[in-house]
């Protein structure tokens, strides 16, 4: 071999190598052409499968306001922090910075992320305030990202929790108004085609497929001020009397607007903890109770309407005991021969029973049903109960008698409020409603105006020193109302020691504008009569409500406040 071999073979080999090079270049050029022209549909399709995604575009959830435009539920943008552990692990020495900022205990991040290093997405903390989110961003930690979410905020907190309900983490209504009107509030999420990076974060929108339609705002009939007021007084009363639960419903009579509806126990809808069914339930519509003596005005009204008695008729209640079907119905004492007004004023069970027994069962049932007893009020509040009213043909004599003082039938606080509102509305039907709507067509006349007015007059006598609800009196206004203290029905019969105390009333009595029902279940203190437990709540809430709504006074202040009221059991 001679070497180095120049130039005779060198020249040839140089040409050969150059040819080989050009061949390779031509091959690569063809390959480029193949990939970038011939195979583009296939490759672009493959790429689009990975890059392009359709994402939902958040539709802003509508606001809920009270009748004066005050916000009751608002959606606010919040940020959630999430981590890509595969990246975040690179800055392990800086984990404490994040933990400190988020006020997480030392081992929490380690537990959250350190044990999921192979994952690509772990929530670190959800729903931060904007300020905190900015601070997290400011740390500039690799593998830490923010995700925009929307949080529902309820400014009135526990006061309106039952009524408004709440949304879940996906912004869907779960209870109350949020559930009932979810469709209206949530609107229509939009859809946008976006390009995403490998970690499925969107990079840029490509095209909008459907624009997001924001949810509608809603205006409720509630008055936030009255809601607060009613809640405060109810809570205080339930606390004071160590009661199990309670509800207050306040209606605007002419319109049927629900101005306030509060319950105890309550929960804070801004917090996810403490949402037990017992606390979340809107008892004012879901729970039924036996109305006790608060039903008596309707028995009297039915009798007057049927022409069986007149307002000056005398009913013999002597000797204060009435035996029906082997059971004894008792009054506190013998009231003698008394008028319907006195039956209500003294809350005579014997008198009411006699009146009821003087009528057809069907007449009573008809009268009660026309007032909405035993039927949902269609207030559009979720979970509303029908109450219980058995058909008249199934009543025994005793049932008919006890029904006259509120046993053997059950109502919700809202139903009772509605029935009282009808009395106050000159006998015209009232449809309770939570959403402002144009007024319905002329309401039906349920009771004649004369009868309704005369029963309201009679009920004014209850709120006097001679009546059972002196403590329901409101200075400067005439008040009509009725107490009811019923034994709680438990398994196996009525509990002699436990009661449900109810007060239902109208104000101002001369031309009622507001109807209110207060029920307090199972007060455990010394006092349990409705006149002592429920009536004071009525007075406090009603006096302030009348002022706030600028309803003119129609009476004199009664000087009889100092007189000790005589509680009369139902």
């Amino acid at each position: 071999m001679k070497h180095p071999v120049f130039p005779e073979t060198g020249q040839l080999r140089d040409v050969m190598l150059r040819s080989l090079l050009l061949l390779a270049v031509a091959g690569l050029a063809y390959r480029a052409f193949y990939l970038q022209v011939l195979q583009t549909p296939f490759l672009q399709d493959k790429a689009a499968n990975r890059h392009v995604r359709v994402v939902d575009e958040h539709a802003h959830r509508g606001m809920i306001r009270d009748r004066n435009g005050e916000p009751l539920a608002i959606s606010t943008a919040v940020n959630s922090v999430w981590a890509d552990p595969t990246q975040f692990v690179a800055v392990r020495h800086r984990w404490s910075e994040l933990a400190d900022l988020l006020e997480m205990p030392a081992g929490k991040l380690e537990q959250l992320i350190g044990q999921r290093l192979e994952r690509r997405f772990v929530y670190v903390k959800r729903r931060l305030t904007p300020q905190l989110a900015d601070q997290v961003k400011g740390l500039g930690l690799p593998g830490i990202y923010l995700q925009r979410e929307y949080r529902r905020y309820y400014p009135t907190g526990e006061v309106s929790g039952h009524l408004l309900g709440f949304t879940n983490i996906d912004d869907l209504g779960q209870e109350g108004i949020e559930l009932q009107f979810d469709q209206l509030l949530s609107g229509q999420p939009g859809r946008t085609r976006v390009v995403q990076d490998l970690y499925r974060r969107w990079v840029q929108p490509v095209e909008s497929l459907e624009p997001a339609l924001s949810g509608s705002d809603m205006t409720l009939t509630l008055d936030k001020r009255l809601q607060y007021l009613a809640y405060r007084e109810l809570k205080a009363a339930v606390h004071r009397h160590r009661a199990a639960s309670g509800s207050v419903v306040l209606l605007d009579i002419p319109s049927g607007d629900i101005l306030a509806m509060v319950n105890q126990p309550s929960f804070n809808p801004n917090e996810t903890s403490g949402r037990t069914p017992a606390k979340v339930r809107n008892r004012a519509v879901t729970d039924v109770f036996e109305p006790g003596s608060t039903i008596k005005p309707f028995i009297i009204a039915a009798a007057l309407q049927a022409g069986i008695y007149r307002s000056d008729s005398l009913i013999d209640t002597r000797p204060g005991v009435l035996e029906v079907g082997g059971h004894k119905i008792r009054d506190h004492r013998s009231f003698g021969r008394i008028t319907p007004k006195q039956i209500l004023q003294k809350s005579s069970n014997v008198g009411a029973a006699r009146v009821a027994l003087g009528m057809d069962a069907a007449q009573i049932e008809e009268a009660l049903r026309s007032l909405g007893i035993g039927r949902s009020t269609a207030s559009q509040l979720p979970g509303e109960s029908d109450g219980i009213l058995a058909p008249a043909h199934s009543w025994r004599k005793l049932d008919q008698a006890t029904m006259a003082f509120g046993y053997g039938l059950s109502v919700t606080p809202l139903q009772l409020a509605k029935a009282y509102a009808i009395l106050g509305n000159q006998g015209r039907d009232v449809s309770p409603r939570i959403v402002s709507q144009p007024a319905a067509a002329r309401p039906a006349q349920v009771i004649t105006p004369e009868v309704a007015d005369s029963v309201v007059r009679m009920l004014e006598a209850v709120v006097t020193p001679e009546g059972t609800a002196m403590q329901a009196d409101v200075e400067g206004y005439r008040i009509a109302g009725k107490t009811g203290t019923a034994h709680l029905f438990r398994k196996g019969g009525y509990d002699k020691e436990r009661y449900v105390a109810t007060f239902a009333g109208l104000a101002p009595a001369s031309a009622p504008r507001l109807a209110m029902v207060i029920t307090i279940q199972d007060p455990k203190g010394e006092a349990y009569y409705a006149g002592d437990v429920a009536a004071p709540v009525f007075a406090r809430v009603m006096s302030r409500a009348l002022q706030l709504l600028h309803i003119p006074a129609d009476g004199d202040s009664l000087p009889t406040r100092l007189v000790q009221p005589k509680g009369i059991p139902a």
């Binding site: 071999v5 130039p7 073979t9 270049v25 990076d197 970690y199």
Partner: protein, 379 residues
């Protein structure tokens, strides 16, 4: 014909006319394009992982300045000095290749020990070795030694040793480029065709054996044969690269508009930079880049022929070697990007991000310019 061309370009010392300006222009064009795309391709990665989207741009700019300065310096060193430096440089290179394998000195990145950290700088000894081995092989091939029975044994042993060290890192890409460059030089030096084929058969068998015994290379090979069989795992990188080419089409999606660089394409600013260019600028740019590397290689061959004609066989062999080094690496990288060669972990010279690669490519080009310069001066 050649001498006529050279006569026209005859240099006058100290003037600009003594240098290969077309070569310099093409190289500067490529590094400029590279700088733009290193930036474009690295923005998402640098912005997110390093919270500094200019990180790679800044560093590449510094590398570029150092490399140009080095190249300029090299053009001032006579070829004869390089001839004398060939052996020491190679020995030093081998020493560095041994050092890089020592835990604590070598730095492991992605499972390979390819970098030595010294004085805060990371250098890749394989880049050094590639250039110094070309010098050394040129020296051996041009040393007239009629007494040697097996004149090629020496270079082959050295090559084998270096290759084994590269495979130990492992850096199969560098080993392959070096082996192909050496083969090309041996071929050009006139190695009888029979021996040449024997040598190639040996090389190919070695590669085959190395592939079969190493599961990760085997996986790469199967992924290369059918990348779409498992596009989420072994075929991930390649399919992502192919999709980038496909997305680019004729004229690209526009500068900065690559989606593949959004973490889909691993090593977007280094080994797979061409895929990003293909996506953003399209087929025409890719063809232009392929043409530029082909032209660079052919230019080096022309410089080699001229040097030989001017009676400088060592310079000629060096020019061939350096041309092959750059050309082979570029073609292999392009082939890998387009899925015609299995994934190797090779940068695209002049374009890809990386200080060592840029520095030694600069050194090689400076040397080429020097050889050309001396040839012009001699004729």
């Amino acid at each position: 014909m050649t001498s006529a061309v050279i006569k026209n370009l005859a240099p006058s010392r100290g003037s600009l006319a003594g240098w290969d300006w077309p070569l310099i222009s093409v190289v500067l064009g490529l590094v400029s394009l590279g700088l733009i795309f290193v930036y474009s391709a690295s923005i998402p990665y640098a912005g997110e992982r390093l919270a500094d989207s200019d990180f790679f741009l800044r560093r590449q700019q510094i590398f570029l300045i150092i490399s140009i300065a080095t190249a300029a310096l090299v053009t001032q060193v006579p070829v004869d000095i390089w001839r004398r430096l060939a052996l020491p440089m190679t020995l030093l290179g081998v020493g560095l290749l041994v050092l890089v394998l020592v835990p604590g000195i070598g730095r492991e990145v992605n499972g390979s020990m390819r970098w030595i950290t010294a004085a805060g700088l990371r250098v890749q000894p394989s880049e050094w070795v590639k250039v110094s081995f070309v010098l050394y092989l040129a020296l051996l091939l041009t040393r007239r030694n009629k007494d040697s029975v097996v004149p090629l044994l020496g270079p082959l042993v050295v090559l084998l040793f270096i290759t084994l060290l590269l495979l130990a890192e492992p850096d199969l890409g560098a080993a392959a480029v070096l082996a192909m460059t050496a083969a090309g030089m041996l071929f050009l030096a006139g190695l009888p065709i029979g021996q040449f084929l024997l040598l190639n058969t040996g090389l190919l068998s070695a590669v085959a054996v190395l592939t079969v015994i190493s599961p990760y290379r085997m996986a790469r090979l199967t992924a290369f044969v059918d990348p779409w069989a498992d596009p989420l795992a072994s075929g991930f990188q390649l399919t992502q690269s192919l999709m980038a080419f496909g997305r680019g089409g004729w004229s690209g999606v526009g500068l900065g508009q690559s989606v593949q660089k959004l973490f889909y394409l691993p090593e977007a600013h280094t080994d797979f930079l061409l895929a990003v260019i293909a996506e953003e600028l399209g087929l025409l740019a890719v063809l232009l880049i392929i043409a530029a590397y082909a032209w660079l290689t052919l230019r080096a061959f022309a410089i080699a022929r001229n040097a030989l004609a001017a009676g400088n066989p060592f310079a000629s062999q060096v020019a061939y070697g350096l041309g092959l080094l750059i050309g082979v690496q570029a073609l292999v990288n392009i082939g890998v990007n387009m899925g015609v060669l299995p994934t190797k972990g090779l940068t695209l010279p002049l374009l890809s991000y990386g200080g060592s690669s840029l520095l030694f490519t600069g050194l090689a080009l400076g040397l080429l310019l020097r050889i050309d310069h001396e040839t012009r001066a001699a004729t």
